[in-house]
């Protein structure tokens, strides 16, 4: 495929796409853990907030979320400080994608937490561990093993959703393909090139997820 010297632009865009995906993954996982903890909490208000969060976010398009965060935040800042403060497309993208990822991750973590036998929590209590210790030392290490397949799928979705941030002008892979297509008048070539780079990333991360799954299940493989 002849890229007319735009290959390095696509690579630079790929790098931004990856940064965006991993930063959103980091914050999204934190949001997901908080959300799951809130959903299973004995406090009713927390459960209500978490349920509202997941229902709202899963019911509106990701594109709308990106636009709300990007344009909405500047407008709120404008009203608060009476001054036009522009937030970066990257920050808006990370915020929107983390919020979206967190909503789905909440469900994954919740079902994973529920899959851990109740006896483990009870024995932790009997050993005198407090709630925080039970969570970090008993539940968390097991949580990953159960949650990895679900989170892996969500990450692949997140990777594809990063393309949406190009709409608000972040120079990610999608936007660089758009720029190159406009320059060379070869839209098919460049969008196809972008598609293949996304496919390549998907393949790489699918393998990585498979590897992590096998690693996480090591204790169970010997027993069979």
């Amino acid at each position: 495929m002849d890229l007319h010297g735009f290959g390095h632009l696509l690579l630079a865009g790929t790098w931004i796409t990856l940064k965006l995906a991993f930063t959103s993954l980091f914050f999204g996982l934190i949001l997901g853990l908080i959300g799951a903890a809130a959903k299973l909490s004995p406090i009713r208000a927390l459960r209500w907030i978490a349920t509202t969060y997941t229902t709202l976010i899963r019911g509106i398009p990701e594109l709308l979320l990106v636009l709300i965060i990007y344009f909405g935040t500047t407008e709120i800042l404008l009203r608060l400080f009476d001054k036009y403060i522009e937030i970066s497309a990257f920050a808006a993208g990370v915020t929107a994608l983390s919020i979206a990822f967190g909503a789905y991750a909440t469900e994954v973590f919740r079902s994973a937490l529920q899959e851990i036998p109740k006896g483990q929590r009870e024995s932790a209590m009997a050993m005198g561990l407090n709630r925080w210790q039970t969570f970090t030392r008993i539940l968390m290490p097991q949580l990953w093993r159960i949650a990895i397949p679900g989170l892996g799928n969500l990450f692949l979705v997140l990777l594809k959703d990063t393309a949406l941030v190009s709409v608000i002008g972040l120079d990610d892979l999608m936007r660089q393909a758009y720029v190159a297509a406009g320059f060379t008048k070869l839209p098919f070539t460049f969008y196809l090139a972008a598609a293949f780079i996304y496919l390549l990333l998907t393949i790489i991360f699918m393998q990585a997820i498979r590897f992590m799954e096998i690693r996480a299940n090591r204790p169970w493989q010997g027993a069979r």
């Binding site: 990701e62 709308l64 909405g72 393909a177």
Partner: protein
């Protein structure tokens, strides 16, 4: 219908008496409703077309001959592995690169260069790949006993698929199909990037005129939530109707004959 919405909008305008953002909401209500209508068309048409395309793709995919399964495998992999936005741009902007396509006459001027049809083509292709994968799983999950029973009755392979396996597989994928249609609803917002005036496009148009971005985005979010709720309700009804036999079995399976139980039904009982 549109007459009614315009009258409703007029009536709301007299109520709001210039109070923002309600006044703008009332003023742009007809356009937003047009947008909702376009969004619904996109979702329903691509949902049905994608479904019909998914069946042959899934059947080829489960074939044992590599010549048959390699194409659907690549097709599914491509459409599930790349962003929907890339696929839409590839079809709407990308196809104009080919001189031969531009000389096709009405196919080019009325279909392939129209954002509406490009969006429908892109969504149908995309969703068919996802549904084909669901179908593949469901066909393999049809209880073996039912296929064996059909074989022992001497039903031909074609009729087995037509009357037993595919209807059964449809029942199995129904909940997942509902999810897929909701994902499609959310994906349809991307049609606004190729200048289509769907709900998202109409919202952005209203914002361009009123500068009230936050208010209109939140209103659009509310409308999308409503659409999602309607779709969820519709699929719940459809599932209750189509899988009614399973609900009946849920209650009285034990009493009928324990020997009849197979793995799939046992999961339901639990």
């Amino acid at each position: 219908m549109s007459e009614l919405i315009i009258q409703l909008s007029q009536w709301l305008l007299t109520l709001t008496q210039g109070a923002e953002p309600w006044d703008s909401y009332a003023r742009y209500l007809p356009r937003l409703m047009d947008g909702v209508w376009v969004t619904l068309q996109l979702v329903v048409v691509s949902g049905i077309v994608g479904f019909l395309m998914a069946i042959p793709i899934a059947l080829m995919r489960i074939s044992k001959s590599p010549w048959l399964w390699i194409f659907p495998y690549c097709y599914i992999f491509f459409f599930r592995g790349t962003p929907l936005l890339v696929q839409i741009f590839l079809i709407y902007y990308g196809l104009s690169q080919f001189e031969s396509l531009r000389n096709l006459g009405w196919i080019w001027t009325d279909v392939l260069s129209q954002p509406y049809w490009c969006a429908i083509i892109a969504f149908s292709l995309n969703t068919s790949a996802y549904i084909a994968e669901l179908f593949r799983g469901a066909i393999l999950a049809v209880p073996k006993g039912e296929v064996e029973a059909a074989q022992s009755l001497g039903i031909s392979r074609r009729k087995q698929y037509q009357h037993i396996i595919l209807p059964r597989a449809f029942g199995i994928i129904l909940p997942a199909y509902g999810n897929e249609v909701i994902l499609m609803l959310k994906g349809s917002a991307l049609a606004s990037t190729i200048t289509l005036l769907d709900l998202m496009g109409a919202t952005r148009g209203a914002i361009a005129r009123t500068y009230m971005s936050l208010e209109f985005f939140l209103l659009a979010g509310l409308l999308y939530l409503l659409l999602t709720a309607v779709l969820i309700g519709f699929f719940r009804l459809l599932e209750n109707w189509y899988n009614a036999h399973q609900h009946a079995i849920n209650m009285s399976l034990e009493k009928v004959d324990p020997q009849l139980r197979d793995k799939h039904l046992e999961d339901n009982v639990r």
